[in-house]
Structures are given as structure tokens and as C-alpha cells.
Amino acid sequence: MSLLEVQDLRVTLRQHSTSTRLLRDVSLSMEYGKVLGLVGESGAGKSMVAKAILDLLPKKAVIDKGEIKFNQNSLLRLSVAERRKLLGKDIALIPQDPMVSLNPVRTIGTHLSEGLTHHLGITKAEARKQSIALLDEVLIRDPERVIDAFSHELSGGMRQRVLIAMAFSCSPKLIIADEPTTALDVTVQKRVLSLIRMMQRKQNTSLLFITHDLGVVAKICDQVAIMYEGRVLENTTAKQLFHSPGHDYTRALIDAMPRFDQPDKPILPVSRKLKEQLQAETREVDQATYND
């Protein structure tokens, strides 16, 4: 039984007279307590999947078809208010850029406790106490001071810790991490990844981890889905992916990575032929589903 089930999700951006497919019948399935990596280059549609789950799709993007089932319930059939009750409580987000994801005019404490009072209905004083405990849990030194600080007083790594604390604060069942370490320095990235996995294991949360970095995938993910132009090309286990990638595109991505431990390994850009082939496939898919 799986926690999250995305079935044949098709999203189209309708702008003026043109319409662009953003997601082409995407299917994913996430098990309880597992980490699913969603991998692709920019424009592959990986963030769009997250937005569809979080009800953050742009106004002009329409879900044409498909289903998102969370805990056996269809998210798309819920009312706006019902969905808001889930967001932040059962489904939480760790955003991409910690530098801009905290409101500059509100204190760290406000950020943390407003979620707690809103979703758990506890008092402000209690929420503050819990917030301090949460900051302590994500290994922030001196949480009593940090709780009254503003985001600009914290470093990037600290901010991401705060955001992780926010995400885990209501013990959600699913966390969507949208490139959570892309904006961070590599040493900070490692610490933040460690923290995310520690918290994930502690609370047995399912984690949808969106990234473009196969290196990060290798370190944190159990399952991987490779995306290209709004399609899922390959859906496999992480072990399988690095052992013997199933799709040519996956192999091409691995081949394009420079590796510091293998200086003599040639780096090969994804070949034009492969890209053309993939694009042709996309066109085929679009034509086949044109009348759906």
C-alpha cells in the first residue's frame, strides 16, 4: 500500500491561444517511510509535480487528466479548504532557496508557531515552547535566541534548518523537498542532507526529493524517477539506477557528470541524437493523446 499515488497526471498551461503540456501522464508511487528521488534537468517538469500535489499550480495551468491519491483519498476532489487542512499538516514542503523562503519581516518563532497553532490548535505559549524544542531538534545552537531572530540574521545553512524544522513540525506523512540543497555550499549541503535524513528516519516520513544532482540521489534516495519534458522515463530503485541504468537518457546523464575521483573519465554531453529521439517520442505522445 502506498502513501502517495500519482496516476496519469496531465497538466497543460493554457496561455492566450497556445497551450503547452507541462506534465505528460506522469505516474508515481511512494511507499511509507521511503525516499523517492525525482530527477531531471531544468524544464523536465519535476517541480510541476510538486506544485500539483501542493495545490500551487499557476493559475493558467490546468489538470486535464489524472489523479493524485494521498492516503487513499483523491486530493483533486477535495475542496480548497479541505486541501488547506492537509497542507502543512500531513504534506509539507522544504523549499529550494532558504535565503528567500523565510519572510524577512517576521521572526523565526512566528514562522514556526503559526503552523503549530493553525494546524494543531495549541496555544501560542505552548507553540513557542514546541518551536524551541524543534529548533533544538534540528541541531540549532542557542534556540532561545534564534527563535526571536529574523531570517537575515541567520546563515543559509541555519535558515534551511529552520525550514526543515517547519516542515517536520506537525509530523507530516509526506515531505516534498524541492531541490533543498541546490542553493547551498557543498559542505553545508552535506550537513543539511544528513539532517533531512535523520529527521525523516526519526519520524518515518515519506520524502519526495526533487533534484537535478545524481550524486545527491545516490546518497539519500531509495527509489528514483527520471523525468524529461514532463514525462517519466524511468522508475526504478536507486541501487538499480547506478548499477545498470535502464534508460539511455539516464545513462547519458551519468556520463555527462564530471567526477573528481575519476579525472580520466570522459564527460559526454547528452547526444543530439538522443535528444531528438526523446523529443520525437514526446511529440508522438502528444499526438496520441491530443484528443483525450
Binding site: E41, S42, G156, D185, V186, T187, V188, Q189, K190, R191, L193, S194, R197, H212, D213, L214, G215, V216, V217, A218, K219, I220, A238, K239, F242, A252, L253, I254, A256, M257, P258, R259, F260, D261, P263, I267, L268, P269, V270
Partner: protein, 524 residues
């Protein structure tokens, strides 16, 4: 030796921090702090650092695009640190830059043709305007772009295309020096690979000196032949790319390298606490190292061979006076005869094994001889000959080899007896003490060439040399393992085992008490 193209001497850049009140003292923020480096013609230098390390400022300072606050900067032999912008202008043909953000570095109101030919026009190298389109097309082709793009505006191109336009503009004047600032950081891995390959071929074809600024060590490793690691405005480490990655010395560099997530499944990677810092000395990774071990035929030496192979050393040269005694079946272990007291032989071997980057001076003798109580100097002489002079020969002969290979390390097997004395073995102790002194001296002498010099001082070890010692005795494998751990961690003095570390602590607390206690410790 060729003259450097760029050479910086105590280069500093600082910014004024705006004062709130006029009578306050002016505060400065130092972005670069007395940086020294040289770039040879044709070199591909990577500058690596995290955000805020000053790497972008360093790149811009090299081209005098920011004001230098002090220090000297030579370009092509000419001092440009204080030249006026107008005087710099003609030199700018020889130094160009590619910027991090192609969106902001291309003027949004100009067409691509105008952007790429702008340098040529600025220097009057395109007197005939009718040739503009043709020249622009040629430049675009050189960077692998479709020449049809010349009439487009920058915002009509993709990120990778824009970055190529930036490259085309930078190479239009055929500069000698090209500074590329984080130019692949915003790109997908596929475009990134294309840009790296393009830079590689351009720098080869055009005889460019390339300064490649990046936070990504993997890319730098691929593209550059030498690296500067910047940390908080200072150069933490400079080495050949190979040298840096094989024995990263600065704790910061090591942390950087350890933090790179390789595309390999490794469940433990995230659990490795990357807060364990080095103990301040130079460190070296055994993986992929080429190691020479002396005295490899017995006890500890043998253990070294096994442990080195286990830890992924690329090659191990096992030496002994009688190499036939070395028993090993590993393919990457090579045996050589060596008597370290034979200075010529040592030098001969050094000229042969030019790829060594770790020397483990393990060979030693113990004549079990007292000082005053023994007659004659033979025992003492023999011990000094091997334990001190032989080791010194090794250091002398191999120091240049290590330097050539980027620094490397020398690990000398001493004993806790280097620090304390045992009755009836005074002669050995004296030679071991000389060995410790040797380590300290050599370390000081080789600091400039980035060579780690480490002393390993175990207590009693269970080998045939110390068969007369009472237990407890350490297994050789444990000693070796502790020694290599210490080396990888950056320790300068390693005390494997409880006995050694206990004595070391005792010595720093109360040396007299240790002396008293040891007076009763008698072998045999």
C-alpha cells in the same frame, strides 16, 4: 623556466563599510587577504571556494575590474597594480573575462552580432563595418553556435547559448588570459559538459591561459591542471589538480572533497560526521596513493603492505634488504631490494620510483644495547646508521620526488622510546630520539613544498624485534591502522595504543613520574 603570465604578491582587496556617523572610524571589509600566486602561460588554473570565499573578487582583481587595496599584480611582466584604467586599456586586449550570469552580462538592448563584435570595435580591429556580420558568424561558429543567431537579442536564447555568446565575445580579441567566473553553475549537466569541452578545446587551440572560478571541484578536476582553494579570502591550499585531490592538506579542502556526493550508492556517507576536523597538520589520503615502505619483510612492514592494499593504495613499493622475504601476492605491490644505509642505492631507487607520494620509513634496528654499560660503539653506531642516517638519506633522496608529485608525506616509524628512556636499551632510545628530532626538522624544511612529515610512536609491538618485551604488546596491524588513520586525519605525532598514548599524556603531566615508573620496566 617560463615567466609567469600573472603574478600576485600580497594582493588584498577590501571594501569600505559605509559609516553611519561621520566621526566614526572607517571600517573595511577585507575580501581578499594578502594573496600570493603565479599563473604560468598556458596553465589552466581552477579557483575553488564556497560563497563568500572571495573567488569572484579574485577573478575580477586579476583583471583590475575591482580596486586593489594593496599588493602587487604583474601581468605579462608589467606591474598593473596601480595603472590607471586608461593605461590598462591596451592591455585589456590580452585579458578577458566570461561572466557568471549570462543574463546580466549581455546588454539586453544589443543584438548578438553587436555583442560578440563589440570588443573588436572597441579596439578598432573591425574597421570595415560591413564585415561585422561575417565576423560575428565566424565567432559564433567557433563556440559551436548556429550563425543564424546573430540577429537575435540575448533574451531570445537559452542559458547555455547565452553563455556561449559570452565566450565568443571573450575570445574575439584572442586574449592570452581568460577568466571564467562560475560560468557553468547555472547550467544543466548536459550543457555544462558541452561548455567544459568547449573551453578545453578553445584553450588548447588558442594557447589560452585559463582561470576557471568554480565552486564545483569535480568540474575543476576535469578542466584544470592546477587549483587554488580559497577560504575566507585567503589561499587555503594551492597544488596541481592531481596533487590536491590526492592529498588535500588543508582541513577545509578535505571537508570540501568529502562533501562531494559521488553518484555511487553509499549508505554511510551521510552518517560520516564531516565536523571531524584535522588536527592542524597536513594530511593525506591513502586511496590512490603510491607508497614506498622500507623494511617490508618483517612485522610492522608486512602489516603496512596489507593495510595499504586494503585501503586502496594505487601502488606499493615494498623494499627490504632481502626482498625475497617479502611475502605478498597483491598485483599492485612491487618489491625492490634496498639497504637504506647504502646512500647510492637509496638515490638510485629514488630516481627510478618517480611516482611515489608517500614514504614509510619503517626499517630500523634494535641492538638491545645499554649506553654506559656496554663496551664499544658498534651497537650504537649500527643503530644510528640505520635509524637515523638511513632515514635521513631516504628523506634527502625522496624529498624532490615528493615535491614533484605535489607534496606527499613521509611517515617515520619511531617508538615511544623516542620520548622516554629504558634501562639497558639506552642506545636504541638515543637513536629513536634523534629520529624524532629528524622528523621535526624535516617537517620544518619541507613545509614549503607541502610535504607532511609524521612520526609514529607506538609502545611495545608484538614483533620479533621486541620478543623479549613483557606484555601487553600491540598487534602490528593495529599499529599500522592507527598510523594510517592519523595520517589521513592530519596528525603530526601518532601514538598508537594505550601504552604509548598513556605515556605521552604522562610525559606532558609529570615526566619525572614516568621516568621512575620506567626504571622498573625491563625486557627479558
Amino acid at each position: 623556466m617560463t615567466d609567469p603570465l600573472v603574478s600576485a604578491n600580497r594582493l588584498s582587496v577590501s571594501y569600505r563599510i559605509p559609516k553611519t556617523l561621520p566621526w566614526e572610524e572607517q571600517q573595511y571589509f577585507e575580501v581578499l587577504k594578502e594573496v600570493n600566486f603565479e599563473i604560468l602561460p598556458g596553465q589552466r588554473l581552477g579557483i575553488v571556494g564556497e560563497s563568500g570565499s572571495g573567488k569572484t573578487t579574485l577573478g575580477r582583481a586579476m583583471l583590475r575590474l575591482v580596486k586593489l587595496s594593496s599588493g602587487q599584480l604583474l601581468f605579462d611582466g608589467e606591474n598593473i597594480s596601480t595603472l590607471k584604467q586608461s593605461a590598462l586599456r591596451p592591455m585589456r586586449q590580452r585579458m578577458q573575462m566570461i561572466f557568471q550570469d549570462p543574463q546580466s552580462s549581455l546588454n539586453p538592448r544589443r543584438r548578438i552580432a553587436n555583442i560578440v563584435t563589440q570588443p573588436l570595435i572597441a579596439f578598432g580591429k573591425l574597421p570595415d563595418r560591413s564585415a561585422l556580420r561575417e565576423t560575428a558568424s565566424t565567432l559564433l561558429e567557433r563556440v559551436g553556435l548556429n550563425p543564424d543567431l546573430i540577429d537575435r537579442f540575448p533574451h531570445e536564447l537559452s542559458g547555455g547559448q547565452r553563455q556561449r555568446v559570452g565566450i565568443a565575445r571573450a575570445i574575439a580579441l584572442e586574449p592570452k588570459l581568460l577568466v571564467a567566473d562560475e560560468i557553468v553553475s547555472g547550467l544543466d549537466v548536459s550543457s555544462q559538459a558541452q561548455i567544459i569541452l568547449l573551453l578545453e578545446s578553445l584553450s588548447r587551440d588558442m594557447d589560452l591561459t585559463l582561470v576557471f572560478i568554480s565552486h564545483d571541484l569535480s568540474v575543476v578536476r576535469k578542466l584544470c591542471d592546477s587549483v587554488i582553494v580559497l577560504h575566507q579570502g585567503r589561499i587555503a591550499e594551492r597544488n596541481s589538480t592531481d596533487g590536491l585531490f590526492r592529498f588535500a592538506r588543508h582541513p577545509y579542502t578535505r571537508e570540501l572533497i568529502r562533501a562531494i556526493p559521488l553518484p555511487e550508492i553509499d549508505d554511510n556517507w551521510l552518517d560520516q560526521n564531516n565536523d571531524t576536523q584535522s588536527k592542524g597538520g597536513l594530511a593525506m589520503q591513502i586511496k590512490n596513493a603510491t607508497v614506498l615502505v622500507t623494511g617490508a619483510n618483517r612485522g610492522i612492514g608486512r602489516a603496512y603492505i596489507d593495510e595499504l592494499v586494503k585501503r586502496g593504495a594505487k601502488k606499493v613499493y615494498a623494499t627490504a634488504r632481502t626482498p625475497s622475504e617479502i611475502k605478498t601476492s597483491h598485483a599492485n605491490v612491487e618489491t625492490h631490494p634496498l639497504d637504506i644505509t647504502d646512500r647510492d642505492a637509496v638515490y638510485q631507487l629514488a630516481s627510478k620510483l618517480s611516482d611515489v607520494d608517500l614514504i614509510i620509513n619503517n626499517a630500523g634496528v634494535n641492538m638491545m644495547s645499554a649506553l654506559v654499560a656496554s663496551d664499544g660503539l658498534d651497537a650504537a653506531r649500527a643503530e644510528m646508521e640505520v635509524n637515523y642516517l638511513g632515514t635521513l638519506s631516504m628523506c634527502q633522496a625522496f624529498a624532490p620526488v615528493l615535491k614533484e608529485n605535489g607534496g606527499g608525506a613521509i611517515l617515520n616509524m619511531l617508538s615511544i622510546l623516542s620520548r622516554v628512556n629504558l634501562p639497558l636499551m639506552g642506545s636504541l632510545c638515543a637513536s629513536k630520539a634523534a629520529g624524532l628530532s629528524l622528523v621535526q626538522g624535516v617537517r620544518a624544511e619541507l613545509a614549503a613544498q607541502n610535504t607532511a612529515v609524521v612520526a609514529v610512536m607506538p609502545g611495545a609491538v608484538d614483533t620479533d624485534m621486541s620478543k623479549d618485551f613483557p606484555p601487553p604488546k600491540m598487534a602490528p596491524a593495529d599499529v599500522v591502522s592507527a598510523a594510517l588513520d592519523g595520517l589521513e586525519e592530519g596528525l603530526e605525532e601518532i601514538y598508537p595504543g594505550e601504552m604509548a598514548s598513556g605515556l605521552n599524556q604522562g610525559l606532558s603531566a609529570d615526566p619525572k613520574a614516568v621516568e621512575k615508573e620506567l626504571a622498573g620496566y625491563l625486557p627479558g
